[in-house]
Symmetry: C2
Subunit: 153 residues, 2 copies
DNA sequence: TCTCAATTGTTACCATGATAACAATTGCTA
DNA sequence: TAGCAATTGTTATCATGGTAACAATTGAGA
């Protein structure tokens, strides 16, 4: 039983390392299943659209916590590859609504079980209560930082 | 009181959003304090070296969970800006040991209190036990993923 | 000793994270 | 209604995340 002192912990680093693990796992999964034509981040966009098609770019950016320039770039790539299409909205000509194509729907159907596997694996040996505790504490830390530094993501 | 179901949570997204908050807070802090000549990630390297000077690049990469190409690039930048210097090691001519310059030490001395402020702020309203629980659960998730996907960071 | 695999740092390449600045559009308000 | 601020998407720029491939070096084993 190792004893940890909370002041010895670099929580930011711990979280960054966890993100690295997710990324590595995601990329390995894509490679194993032959999904070389798309990235983990791009699939994130397709997954969002599979839940709610026709979101416009800023909405996608907000959901995923990314900037608009990033979304523009990724959507460019996804459109070039034929996974999504952009459509102008007559009621507000500033926005571009984004829709999955049939090719995009196929891709997301293929990818969903892979994500599901990770969802299950990450919680191995953890109770439902522990999971909720983890998320709750994580959100608290995030809220603390956002308030202290006046950040609105 | 909102009731959350663990299957409704996208933990990967939660963690990614938390990282975004850290990044935004860090960058905002750097800007406010006029540290426009360096980034949060670069300061991370300086901080590591302030704890243990003379590490070689792969060691730094392992500590920070980054790839060697990334470290090469960042060290290039830090060396160009005069914050660190590389030195060959005669006992092993493959490695390059990295040392803080006096300019680098100044920078890290300036940055340390800023990091300290974030360390305190992030835990606002949390008990020591909660902090340890959070880290413990976070590490468990990371370990689960690393084992399931055979990842060695 | 010779050979070959592993390690270290590098380069090249692509995708993402982030900021600043811009045009087009919308909407508030004086 | 005229003007101006806010919103949306885009472009350009720099830094980081990640992979593949490479040269130099090291080290272990035949």
């Amino acid at each position: 039983m190792k004893k940890i002192n909370s002041t010895d912990i670099d929580l930011g680093l711990e979280i960054a390392l966890t993100v690295s693990a997710y990324r590595a796992a995601g990329q390995k999964t894509l490679k194993i299943h032959g999904l070389q034509d798309i990235t983990r981040e791009q699939i994130g966009i397709l997954l969002i659209l599979s839940l709610k098609d026709g979101l416009y770019q800023t909405q996608i950016a907000n959901i995923l916590g990314k900037d608009r320039p990033n979304i523009t770039r990724m959507i460019d790539i996804l459109e070039t590859k034929g996974f999504i299409k952009r459509e102008k909205d007559d009621s507000n000509r500033r926005i571009l609504k984004v829709y999955l194509t049939s090719k995009g729907k196929e891709k997301v159907d293929f990818a969903k079980p892979l994500k599901e596997r990770m969802s299950v694996a990450q919680y191995k040996g953890m109770s439902d209560e522990e999971i909720l505790t983890l998320v709750s504490l994580l959100r608290k830390v995030r809220k603390n930082i956002e308030e202290e530094y006046d950040i609105n993501l």
